[in-house]
Amino acid sequence: MPANPEFRADDPATVHRPLIQLSRVDKVYANGTEAVRGVDLDIGGAQFVSLLGPSGCGKSTLLRMIAGLGGVTRGEIHWPQSRYDARGNPERNLGFVFQEPTLMPWATVFQNVYLPLKLKGISREQAEQPIRQVLETVGLEQFGQAYPRQLSGGMKMRVSIARALVTHPSVMLMDEPFAALDEITRFRLNDDLLHLWAGHEWTVIFVTHSVYESVYLSNRIVVLAARPGRIIADIPIDAPYPRDEDYRTSETYNHYCRQVSAALHRAMGD
């Protein structure tokens, strides 16, 4: 997979310009619920950012707004490194993974992964190679012709990740992708995700309500409080990658877990 062309690690101008810039973002739903209030957040290239918080803290809402699904009520989300089209929409390449695999049940694994390319008007012949490659990356090269109902929960989630990766996104948005899976599968997919992320310079914004998952995966954790959703802590996790079982049992890991847990308790008003 080629590296994201927007990102140049050696170019200081790029490094210092954030990829995504949220300034004073508010979100109020039509029914009056104040989901997000005054969020300021800069996210740079090649970051693995977790948005962590209790239910109702607006973390999913924030992710959806970054994806451009549902507008902001006040404030703005700016993409400083992206060009804007004539209608004022940023040209960016996003991948989105939902909590549920969100596959089309009537389509095979291959057709599901083809979807983003198909919608962009790329022919099946041209798409064949990238799809094969991405299915191999997630370990499903044997299952191209299978239907979603024939797959286990973990495999469906891999298809969902493959579909998000097939466009070579510069930002991967993940909304509690592994929350519905059993722990063994979740640990495994955590490692696989880190493995995929390590090789490519894309940014992950990962919504979770697990302290342990966020400390294991991310190099930055943004803790949100609920009602209204707002940022109350922004904690860098300075542990080196690659991370593995040794990290999961290390003193560093425990230290960060305690720190993030304390922030989360503050967020819940304890």
């Binding site: 959806r64 994806a67 451009g68 699904l69 996003l94 989105f96 939902f98 549920e100 969100t102 089309m104 049940p105 009537w106 389509a107 979807l115 983003p116 198909k118 919608l119 962009k120 990356t137 997630v138 370990g139 299952f143 299978a146 239907y147 979603p148 109902r149 024939q150 797959l151 286990s152 973990g154 495999m155 891999r158 059993d182 063994i184 599968t185 495994r188 696989d192 493995h195």
Partner: protein
């Protein structure tokens, strides 16, 4: 990435022996019940010497069916033709109108009450009006319209439901990748609506036949000689065996329509939809 032990795929259901014996039972059991029923019927008619214009014996019905087969098949062709045409038009009309509804909320709000009105008004009550409108000389056309009215609504309501019940996350995904309205319709909403459309077709197929028969009773005349007309004609003349023979053909027609549509549903859905897929547990 390698798959772990916990991620073995759900086994594809094969033809297990238990399944095959169940298939046999599903044919043999109702067949046995039918044969016993016919046997008892034949015996009772014979034993109590029941006269044929009250209740004909199955054997008498069979004889009548063979004797009148030529003319009855002609009537069957007429009824079947009306039924199929009404059914096809109901499917096309229902699906197209539901697509229109899905594209415009205003159109849906404006038209849906009238579709319901058409449905809840008894077709027998509209029949005289339709006959006057299309002309008394074209009873076949009147029957077609009446059968269509009956068959149309399940297609409209089922397709509307199917188009609306798409997973909103999938909608988000299509939006995220910049899908056009037509891409959403053809690649998301219509495939999602397919099980609903097929379920609607099973209802509509039966209703088209019922509609055609009821309409024939009301609107039929000498020039529209469908099976329903033959039944009432035989009734007037107390030719009860013939009446039963026509009735059998009607039942067989209804059963054939149902099985044909069930087969179509299985063919289109069995690979992906829970309703048609085999499960071993």
């Amino acid at each position: 990435m390698e798959l772990s032990e916990t991620e073995t795929p759900v086994k594809l259901a094969g033809e297990a022996p238990a399944r095959r014996s169940r298939n046999w039972a599903s044919i043999a059991a109702p067949l046995a019940v039918g044969l016993v029923f016919l046997g008892v019927w034949e015996f009772l008619v014979d034993y109590y010497q029941i006269r044929p214009f009250v209740l004909p014996a199955p054997s008498a019905i069979a004889v009548s069916l063979v004797e009148n087969l030529g003319s009855l098949l002609g009537s069957l062709t007429f009824t079947l033709g009306i039924t199929l045409l009404a059914f096809v038009l109901a499917v096309l009309g229902g699906v197209l109108l539901a697509i229109l509804f899905s594209q415009s909320r205003i159109v849906e709000m404006a038209l849906f009450p009238y579709a319901v009105m058409l449905q809840v008004t008894p077709v027998v009550a509209i029949a005289p009006l339709i006959i006057i409108w299309v002309g008394v000389d074209k009873p076949g056309f009147a029957v077609l319209i009446l059968a269509w009215i009956v068959a149309f609504f399940p297609m409209l309501s089922n397709t509307t439901l199917g188009l609306k019940s798409t997973d909103h996350h999938l909608h988000n995904l299509f939006e995220l990748y910049g899908a056009s309205r037509w891409q959403v319709l053809f690649q998301l909403q219509l495939p999602n609506a397919l099980p609903y459309i097929l379920a609607g077709m099973k209802i509509s197929g039966g209703l088209a036949l019922i509609g055609a028969v009821v309409a024939e009773f009301v609107a039929g005349s000498g020039s529209a000689t469908g099976l329903a007309w033959r039944i009432s004609e035989a009734g007037y003349r107390l030719q009860i065996p013939k009446m039963f023979a026509a009735l059998i053909l009607l039942s067989l027609t209804g059963i054939s329509i149902f099985f044909l549509l069930s087969w179509l549903e299985y063919k289109l859905l069995h690979r992906w939809h829970e309703s048609a897929a085999h499960r071993e547990n």
